[in-house]
């Protein structure tokens, strides 16, 4: 049971639960700035759990990836997105979900589903923290759901980044992190992706005068 675990483990479980919560918060957030804020919080939680794993299992190199995710996901990317939103004067725009309750229930179902999928893996191993692997899968799925349900390109980018967060979390808690090189590579990939997205936004905006991705379907061959 839970009380047999050390407090470190319990804290990791807490962080896992909070990361899921942050994914749900992103799912329900209609204001872009707050969305970015929650995303930054998720970055912080991720880095905190990485640091905790590093502390518990004594993997010093995880401290570096904790620092990296803190800087990149907690600070740099959110700040870039924030400035982007402010510069494009989007901070008053609402990107509401059509059926918020339905989407939330769908999200909860996804969590149960990812638990169900991961159950065989979890049962194989006595490692308690492996339970969190279903949480990370859920974060990935919730990120996809976020991308599906939103129209605004910025929200979609946030969804994409949170998918990456989920993968990163899975790597940290189940295999105690990836080799340093891979991690650095991914980190920079994400950064580059963020930059490219930023440029991309300006392009879409200048060509269709909006960031509503539904408008991008104009190229469709099918006549409406």
């Amino acid at each position: 049971m839970l009380d047999e675990l050390s407090y470190y483990h319990q804290a990791i479980l807490h962080l896992a639960a909070l990361i899921t919560l942050s994914s749900f918060l992103m799912l329900g957030q209609s204001r872009l700035l707050r969305l970015i804020g929650v995303f930054a919080a998720q970055g912080f939680l991720l880095s905190a759990s990485t640091a905790l794993v590093a502390q518990t299992h004594d993997f010093p190199h995880l401290y570096i990836s904790a620092l990296l995710s803190l800087l990149l996901k907690g600070l740099l990317i959110p700040m870039m997105l924030y400035r982007l939103v402010m510069r494009m004067n989007l901070h008053r725009e609402m990107d509401t979900v059509e059926h918020p309750a339905g989407v939330m229930m769908g999200g909860a179902t996804l969590v149960v589903f990812s638990y169900y999928v991961c159950l065989p893996i979890v049962k194989l191993s006595p490692l308690m923290t492996l339970n969190t692997i279903s949480v990370s899968l859920a974060v990935v799925l919730l990120g996809m759901l976020l991308m599906i349900t939103r129209r605004h390109a910025v929200a979609q980018v946030v969804g994409f980044m949170s998918i990456e967060n989920g993968l990163f979390f899975a790597a940290v808690v189940s295999t105690m992190g990836m080799p340093m090189v891979v991690e650095l590579g991914i980190a920079f990939d994400v950064l580059v992706a963020a930059v490219i997205f930023g440029i991309f936004f300006f392009h879409i905006r200048s060509s269709i005068d909006s960031l509503d991705v539904d408008r991008l379907s104009k190229l469709s061959e099918v006549e409406e």
Binding site: D3, Q10, A17, L18, T20, F24, A108, V112, N131
Partner: protein, 315 residues
């Protein structure tokens, strides 16, 4: 002996409720740079109402006059069930948490019926809103109960507290979510900012006040007192379920004294939280309350899921 203690604890509960209301009022005044009234002001208000003449509307039926007694009595009964300074009192066995929810519903039913009895627009308005909000709060409350009961294996309040005490300090993600959810529900159910404003008498925004608008004198005193008891009930529930430490585990004077001190301290701290949130937040539009309460429900669901996913260990 134990039953006498239970009755004494109930009396303490009823007597202490206005004090808590006074303390919250005081905190809010301090936070808002106002001169605070005395801590005993709610008692004075009750005494003042007690002495005033009671006026009944002409169209009122017996439901209107019976409602204050019923609402107050049910509040007293609820107070008897919730452990305040000691666990394992026999009164906690009368009914469990679901029953507590049932009691709240019973009191609310009569409050709402009384609101509709006179046939003014305000009564109906308050009643309609109250029923809507409480309906939406119920699933969230149930999720909280389920999450806690899944860990503790009981819906009996006293046994649940025993479980938390016996297992020592364990960080349970599910409890964190349940705590958050219960706090949100408590704010909605007791009619505090941002759902309802207990201080408002602006006719179109009030909910609780709209229903008891026609009460005066002793009837009003009973109604006010009952709502103070209800506020304290939620406070005690939150304090004693999630942080039951130092509650009296036997009936020795030392344990009881320690329990009394502990609950006073816990409630005082919780009040700070409430006063802060009431000062910082503005009242919501009525149709925003559903989002607020569905967030509470979401927290409850996440609590339950994190119990199932993270806290159950497969050997």
């Amino acid at each position: 002996m134990a039953w006498i203690l239970a009755i004494l604890q109930t009396l303490l509960f009823i007597g202490g409720a206005p004090l808590l209301a006074g303390w919250i009022k005081m905190l809010k005044c301090w936070l808002q740079n106002r001169n605070a009234p005395s801590l005993l002001q709610p008692y004075r208000d009750l005494r003042k109402l007690w002495r005033k003449e009671s006026i009944l509307p002409e169209s009122a039926s017996w439901i209107f006059t019976a409602a204050p007694y019923l609402v107050f009595t049910v509040a007293v009964l609820t107070a008897a069930v919730v452990p305040l300074v000691a666990v394992d009192l026999p009164s906690a066995r009368i009914i469990d948490v679901f029953g507590l929810v049932g009691f709240f519903a019973l009191a609310r039913t009569f409050l709402v019926l009384a609101g509709m009895d006179i046939g003014t627009a305000f009564g109906g308005m308050g009643s309609s809103r109250e029923m809507t909000i409480s309906s939406l709060a119920e699933p969230a409350m149930l999720m909280v109960v389920f999450t806690l009961a899944m860990s503790a294996g009981t819906t009996n309040l006293s046994m649940g507290m025993d479980y938390v005490l016996d297992s020592g300090l364990v960080l349970r993600p599910s409890f964190v979510f349940a705590l958050g959810s219960l706090m949100l529900v408590a704010v909605a159910e007791t009619g505090r900012v941002p759902v309802d404003n207990p201080a408002t008498h602006l006719e179109l925004t009030m909910i609780h006040e709209a229903m008891i608008l026609e009460y005066s004198g002793r009837y009003l005193a009973l109604m006010e007192w009952a709502s103070q008891i209800k506020l304290m009930l939620y406070g005690v529930l939150i304090a004693n379920i999630f942080f039951p430490w130092y509650i009296g585990r036997d009936f020795s004077p030392a344990a009881l004294g320690q329990g009394l001190l502990a609950i006073m301290l816990k409630l005082a701290l919780l009040s700070v939280l409430l006063a802060l949130s009431e000062t910082l937040l503005a009242k919501m539009r009525i149709f925003r309350v559903q989002e607020y309460l569905s967030f509470a429900y979401l927290l409850g669901v996440l609590g339950m899921l994190s119990h199932i996913i993270l806290e159950v260990y497969y050997a």
